[in-house]
Amino acid sequence: MVDHNYPDRMIRGISNKNCIFEDTVTAELFTEFKDTGRTDEFKELSISWLDNDGAIRSVLEQTKEDGTLQFKYGAAILMRDEIDKQKLKNKLINTLLSYERSPLSTNPYHGNLLLKNDANRLHKYMVASALALNCFERIITSAEK
């Protein structure tokens, strides 16, 4: 079933070179889930939904307070249908992992990957590695935007 609320792709900015290995990404890119005090017991990892090319520009042109690029190593594109497949095939991942739209005034494309608060570090790294291995498509850099 096609979920029209979400596009096929999402992107996650890369601010740390350690998150890149050759032409792929390490699990580290998907481990920094933040506890924002949600009542649904999920932690958040920011992504942007790839509704159109504006999402790519929004991520790659984002700057820090000092004016330097927030994601100077580019952004990783993830395939939503592959995340859905992981959830269908793996009961644990289905329980632990979710995603949402969460637009911000500064970024209408903003959303989150969500990880259950009670996921232990074993689970967190298993999920992160599954995302990196099975759901990652490619890295996009500012030269391509």
């Binding site: 390490t26 074993l122 790294y125 590695s129 599954a130 099975n134």
Partner: protein, 175 residues
Amino acid sequence: MREDPTFLSEDSNGDNSFSEFHRFSSYLLPSDELSGTVSGTSETLRKYLPYTSSALNVFENVNEGISSIENPDVKRFVVELMAEFLGVLAGLAKSEETLVLPSIVMIVNDDKSVLLEWIFTDFRIGFLIYEATDRSVWYIVTNQNLEEFSKTGYLTHTSLRSTLDFLLQYALRNS
């Protein structure tokens, strides 16, 4: 008194013996100059992995990055893990004529833990090393070409050898 760190590479008899590898592993553990000792690993590998010149690359990133690990207990466990890894790899690689193995990626996290990730096309093996070794974990995740499964567990001193046996056998069989 400990022996010179290069003692194995000075021995030129070409014997690929597993017991000597244990000497190397046990030599590493009490070392108070861990980065210096580990940097001698490639010389040792040349002797003990004679069929697998490409296997020399496996530890390249760890060798380069180990001095950036600030926590001595984490560093010690990383060295122990790599020494044991080396021993298991040497034992398994004896019958392999050619191996193409990627370098292990090492990342020092903000919380001082260390992630070691071995990235293959169809699977990934990872180790997350903490100061308290009973918190350290391993995982393996595969894609649909390899039945898309995942396994994970805690990494303890007592389980190190059996865990590495399982993971490296899988890696060599499927790389």
